[in-house]
Amino acid sequence: MKTSVTIAGVEFQNPIMEASGTFGSGMEYSEFVDLNKLGAVVTKGVANVPWPGNPTPRICEVSSGMLNAIGLQNPGVEVFCERDLKFLEQFKKAKVVVNVCGHSAEEYIEVVERLANEPRVDMLEINISCPNVKEGGIAFGQDPKAVEAITRQVKAHAKQPIVMKLSPNVTDIKVMAKAAEAGGADAISLINTLTGMKIDVERQNFVLANKTGGMSGPAVHPIAVRMVYECANAVSVPIIGMGGITTWQDAIEMMLAGATAVSVGTANFFNPTATLDILSGIEDYMVRKNIEDINSIVGIVK
């Protein structure tokens, strides 16, 4: 039985990753999950310098989902390399995908260049879609010309393959996927969170200090499946699918829609072993359905 998948020349032992920002760099969840069993550890977004993030409350629960407005708090790429990458040295079987954020092309490039000679970094995921930072971020992700341009600029400086992480907060995600492909993306990942809002009716005020937050969790899964399906039929680069994946069925669904690999985000918060539970569910499914190679189900639902 073959569970390994290859994206832009990088071989992952299985298609299960966790989603950026929900798992830190794996340190905290390594108490629950043997990181060596994951396809990849995808780290929290990292910028050229430390970012303080947004004021609190940053978290809010909604029906079958949540909103977050962390604002990409991170310790900066230098500390990240010295501490987080060093920690990940022990887990050689899992690939490391570093999620990169910035306010401008220059900032993305600075991070990418700093990571270029780090042997533990297998792939870069370029977050052009975070709804929680005011400048840059989402602006890149909502304009196809900007998507193509930033992809091309980052690609020119990156040593590792780049995955462009797309925003779902657009009218037509296929256009963005094509723009990323045209700019030279090695792969695309989607979906980032959907911009939402929650108002406390008693206090008659916003729940989140940032007013808006990114929605994730099971409630967004059908939207994510639809978007992955659309992109899979629009581009030929591989897709890492995410958005509400909570069970193995959700993961298989995403692969049938066209994702070569999947990321598990919000589900970690209420089931810290969600990634491994999903993996074993996929293996059982493969046995039951006589699937020799997991790659054979990718995008077969047309």
Binding site: E31, F32, P52, I59, N68, I70, P272
Partner: protein, 254 residues
């Protein structure tokens, strides 16, 4: 060590209007210390996030943890309906807990900040004075404190029992001295207790609250502001769930 498992409800009782005491059978008890908390998950699948609730009592012999909580919304409302034998998902123990220090300690609790001080008061080795603030004469847990502390002072908002006013009013009125203060309660109370501690040059630990998602330090949802650049985050933010909930009053912005 942190555990995520299904706990069994041993019993639940109502202590006061909207205040419940829930005793759970869970192996989390083996690793728990005072001041830590557990995440309790709803049995309703549409409510994903944990409800963080402080540990009120640790009984290693019986393998039980007790939490005392106020019904504040739909999640705690659901918990209040739990009966003996019911099952509920829990994760813990989470957070750092109170360090046990001092020859003369004051433990201060305000409202729903009262419960976590009970196990602390039991485990402190020295002389313990408890100062508890309540809205009115619904003095939940006061009798239990009476049994385990050297002195118990009560302050009520409506003046029905003890000192009419806040816990800090009581501390000033009784001229309390100590070498360490532990406090849990609403922010304004923590601020006032921290000021009292500073004036009297007493070391002071406060237990903080923030909205949580992961509860283990991974998502950066629950930060509070720290005075110095924090050595994990490298900005002025500390994670309440992992670096806290207990902080020195001088290290955080209250």
């Amino acid at each position: 060590m942190k555990i995520k498992e299904t706990a069994v409800v041993l019993w639940q009782e109502k202590l006061a209007e909207g205040i419940y005491s829930l005793t759970l059978e869970t192996s989390i008890v083996d690793y728990a210390i005072p001041g830590q908390f557990i995440s309790i998950f709803s049995n309703d699948g549409s409510k994903l996030l944990p409800r963080p609730i402080s540990i009120c009592e640790i009984n290693k012999e019986y393998g039980t943890l007790r939490v005392v909580y106020r019904v504040a919304g739909a999640g705690t409302e659901e918990f209040s309906k739990l009966k003996s034998g019911d099952k509920i998902e829990v994760m813990g123990p989470l957070g750092n807990g109170f360090p046990l220090e001092g020859k003369n300690a004051i433990v201060v609790g305000g409202g729903i900040g009262v419960p976590p001080m009970l196990e602390l008061a039991k485990q402190l080795k020295g002389n313990v004075t408890a100062v508890m603030g309540y809205r009115n004469d619904d003095l939940f847990l006061a009798e239990e404190f009476q049994k385990v502390v050297n002195h118990l002072y009560i302050a009520t908002d409506d003046g029905s029992v003890g000192v009419h006013g806040t816990v800090v009013d009581a501390m000033r009125e009784k001229d309390l001295v100590a070498d360490v203060i532990y406090a849990c309660g609403p922010k304004p109370m923590l601020r006032a207790v921290a000021d009292f501690a500073l004036e009297n040059q007493i070391k002071c630990y406060v237990s903080m609250e923030e909205r949580m998602a992961c509860g283990v330090g991974a998502c950066l949802g629950c930060v509070c502001q720290s005075k110095e650049v924090d050595d994990h985050s490298h900005v002025n933010n500390k994670r309440v769930c992992k670096d806290g909930p207990v902080f020195l009053s001088t290290e955080v912005v209250l």
